[in-house]
């Protein structure tokens, strides 16, 4: 995010920073693909170790205690929907930035941030709730794989939220004119990526039994 962004001729016609964020996103795809594969691999081990599990009831053979399935679909679905809408909101915010319409930019960017914050908050709540119900990192392979996968995704969302808040403050201080809208576009690309990853994680973890 430099002060001046001279319109350099590039061999591809794409701004180098935009090309770079796409490249980074490409690499991150492999990162999440590996984490998701790891999760899928450990799906097999769910029904052998100690519960709780996402979709299954589990009876402790030693005590006879019965553990309910731990996933609460409604809350996570709302968070997912908000995250998906936030991608739309940031597109609108970017449009506002590109057209120099600061009010539009601030409004929709603010909405994006609120959705992001809700999502992170939902994840924090969910994690805490799971731990109270006895599912920790160490408890079983589902716990370990779940927390690592969704935890790293959540970290990526958090970084995205911080990034967007920074853009918001810049916009407030009138430092995001239409000539510098590329900076927001790059943040938006990252944000869309984080959303797309969730679009894969949500069905894989929460919906598919």
């Amino acid at each position: 995010m430099s002060d001046h962004a001279p319109a350099l001729e590039t061999s591809t016609g794409l701004d180098s920073r935009k090309l770079a964020i796409w490249t980074f996103i490409g690499s991150e795809c492999l990162f999440f693909a590996t984490l998701i594969s790891n999760y899928l691999v450990h799906k097999q081990q769910w029904l052998t170790g100690p519960g709780p599990f996402p979709h299954e009831v589990w009876t402790d053979p030693a005590t006879g205690k019965v553990l309910e399935p731990i996933i609460e679909i409604p809350l996570v679905t709302v968070g997912t929907a908000l995250l998906l809408f936030s991608s739309l909101f940031i597109v609108l915010a970017l449009y506002g930035a590109q057209k120099g319409r600061r009010g539009m930019l601030l409004g929709w960017l603010g909405a994006t941030i609120l959705c992001g914050l809700f999502f992170v908050g939902m994840q924090v709540y969910e994690f805490t709730h799971f731990v109270h119900k006895g599912l920790t990192l160490q408890r079983n392979m589902f716990g370990a794989s779940f927390f690592v996968l969704t935890g790293f995704h959540g970290t990526h969302v958090t970084i995205g939220v911080i990034w967007l808040i920074t853009m918001f403050i810049l916009a407030l201080r009138k430092q995001l004119p239409s000539t510098r809208s590329l900076n927001l576009e790059i943040a938006a690309l990252y944000w869309h990526f984080v959303d797309v990853v969730w679009v894969v994680i949500f069905p894989v973890v929460y919906l598919i039994k």
Partner: protein
């Protein structure tokens, strides 16, 4: 193309000091960063070489007690880790840094501060790995750290922690550099330089960046899972918890096999530059070289379990991986034949770079052939985990990568430093290295098939390994002398005058059109490219060699300012990982401080006042 000055741009005053330690710490100049990479990597290479010599002393005779088993296990682990991550990769990075912008006619890379950041993270990561020696806890589970030996239960000390954290730090460096060079090659080519006219070194390096981008995330995850097992009590690789050591092997080798192509492709690129220049004819089959490189890289992601033939994956998996591995031999063979086709019918100019390039071909053929021998699982069941494998990978990594990088060093030394390395000493270096190398590593083929497993701190006298091991140790010391000759050559040359011409070798590519060493802005005017081998075309059109280019004043050319925020950010990244390692002992406040340092560095980097990253055109 006329030189245009962008009217509203000021030519900024001297961008900080030009000399002195601070100018090196804050540099964002790709040429200086290249030299930093090279010097640092060479230091780690010597360290890795010392580790090897100690190993060879221990193995010179049976039942030796020169080294304790713990010391030996740390030494072989650090030797492998250092040579791969701290020597070969950053030596390649030295050439990516210095030569890619010059070869494509650019003033710098796409993101000069990110470039500096990559270097500082590499330096800190390398130091971090080696600081473990001071704790008496250098990594000791092998360079590929198989689970579940690396679990907390079986490796309770700090050794494996240092390894995991050190590699994660280095991964950040590699990933940042890969984004940078990928973007640079795609975006900053001089007008007229289409992809299929790029110098072949740039092409091979470009493919290497793609491999880095796709392979490093996988080992990052593998290491994260190991970190969680060791620090937070998960059981990803712990059988008793429902985990599986084999998961580590798969994840590691999905990274590990592309990694070996990361290690060799830059050398392939260098050889493909050197051979045409010193044969005075173009590279034979340029398109085949490009496409075979792409094919090797792509296929390289599909063969990883050929490292796992002894694990009993079953005949179907074994068959697939065996056939895929054999398939890779085809594009590799194509390259070797194309190199032969390049020198065939040429007018070979026997200078030192050519010696090393020819040595590369000779040694790489052997390494490639032993690789084909491993491709067959029933045979590999005897070969794997023995010195036969150690022979194979040293033939491709030393006989291949190191010979290639050395050829690059002699070839590009005048461009980088403005001085010609001594020819006589260069040839002495070559012969000592060739003889020492073969004496050290050829017998390993034999001793491996005679039953010597790898990673053993000693061996009994009764098995008949003695003589060959002694020969290998002698060879290692000859190698040491070879590198001493090189160091002497460097010192002697550096003391001499800085009088290398711009184009000492009658080169074909753009880097030879500017002074040796290049001025800070590289090209006074952005070159226009009309063909492959643009400099040969220009000289041909002119009917003879070009006059010595003048350095110019750089007036009207804007260069990115130096900056110390990359250093601060690099310290932040390292601190995050270091404090994570200590967190389960000291608490998490360290991590919070480290994250703050990183954010502070990044924030200032991104909002640096009056900073313009981009060089002006023309």
């Amino acid at each position: 193309m006329a030189t245009t000055v962008l009217g509203h741009e000021q030519t900024l005053p001297a961008h900080g000091a030009k000399t002195g330690l601070w100018s090196w710490i804050t540099t964002v100049d790709h040429k200086r960063i290249g030299i930093l990479y090279g010097a640092t990597a060479f230091f780690f290479f010597l360290l890795g070489g010392l580790e090897a010599l100690l190993i060879r002393i221990q193995l010179a005779k049976p039942d030796n007690n020169f080294l304790s088993p713990e010391a030996y296990n740390q030494l072989f682990t650090m030797h492998g880790t250092s040579m791969i991550f701290l020597a070969i990769m950053p030596l390649s990075a030295m050439f990516f840094n210095f030569m890619i912008p010059l070869q494509i006619g650019a003033r710098d890379v796409a993101f000069p501060r990110l470039n500096a950041f990559s270097y500082w993270v590499f330096l800190l990561g390398g130091l971090y790995l080696n600081v473990s020696w001071l704790f008496g806890a250098a990594p000791d589970a092998g360079w590929f750290g198989y689970a579940n030996l690396t679990s907390k239960q079986f490796s309770p000390g700090l050794n494996v922690d240092f390894w995991v954290i050190g590699l994660q730090i280095l991964g950040v460096s590699s990933l940042a550099a890969a984004v940078n060079f990928f973007t640079t090659v795609l975006n900053l080519r001089a007008p007229g330089m289409r992809l299929m006219w790029m110098p072949i070194f740039t092409w091979m390096s470009f493919i290497t960046q793609i491999l880095l981008l796709l392979a490093f995330p996988v080992i990052t995850v593998a290491l994260i899972l190991l970190m969680f097992d060791r620090f937070f009590g998960t059981g990803f690789y712990v059988p008793a918890a429902g985990g599986d050591p084999l998961l580590w092997q798969h994840l590691f080798w999905i990274f590990g096999h592309p990694e070996v192509y990361i290690l060799i492709l830059p050398a392939f690129g260098i050889i493909s530059e050197v051979l045409p220049v010193f044969s005075r004819k173009p590279l034979f089959g340029y398109a085949a070289m490009v496409f075979s490189g792409i094919f090797i890289a792509f296929l390289g992601f599909g063969v990883w379990s050929h490292h796992m033939f002894a694990t009993g994956m079953g005949p179907i998996a074994d068959t697939y991986f065996s056939l895929a591995t054999m398939l890779i031999a085809i594009p590799t063979g194509v390259k070797i034949f194309n190199w032969l086709g390049t020198i065939w019918g040429g007018s070979l100019q026997y200078k030192t770079p050519l010696y090393f390039a020819l040595g590369f071909i000779a040694m790489f053929i052997i390494g490639g052939l032993s690789g084909v021998m491993h491709a067959s699982p029933p045979a590999d069941l005897q070969q794997t985990d023995t010195y036969f494998i150690v022979a194979h990978f040293h033939y491709v990594m030393f006989g291949g990568s190191i010979f290639g990088l050395t050829a690059g060093a002699y070839y590009w030394w005048p461009k980088i430093f403005g001085r010609m390395l001594d020819e006589g000493l260069g040839k002495l270096h070559f012969w000592l290295m060739l003889i020492g190398f073969n004496l050290t590593f050829f017998p390993m083929h034999i001793v491996g098939l005679l039953g010597m497993p790898r990673r053993t701190y000693t061996y009994p006298a009764a098995l008949g390994f003695d003589t060959l091991n002694l020969v290998e140790t002698v060879g290692a010391f000859i190698l040491m002398v070879a590198f001493l000759v090189f160091i002497y050559n460097v010192i002697k040359t550096t003391r001499g005058p800085r009088n290398a011409p711009a184009d000492p070798w009658n080169g074909a590519t753009l880097e030879w059109s500017i002074p040796s060493p290049p001025p800070e802005w590289n090209f006074g005017q952005t070159p226009q490219v009309h063909s492959r081998d643009p400099l040969w075309e220009t000289k041909r059109a002119r009917g003879g060699p070009l006059p010595e280019p003048s350095p110019g004043t750089g007036a009207g050319i804007h260069i990115p300012n130096p900056s110390y925020w990359p250093v601060v950010s690099a310290i932040g990244v390292t601190a995050i990982f270091a404090s994570l390692m200590m967190a389960h002992k000291t608490g998490y406040w360290g991590v919070i401080v480290a994250v703050s340092i990183l954010f502070f560095g990044l924030y200032n980097w991104l909002f640096e006042k009056g900073y313009s990253e981009f060089t002006t055109e023309h």
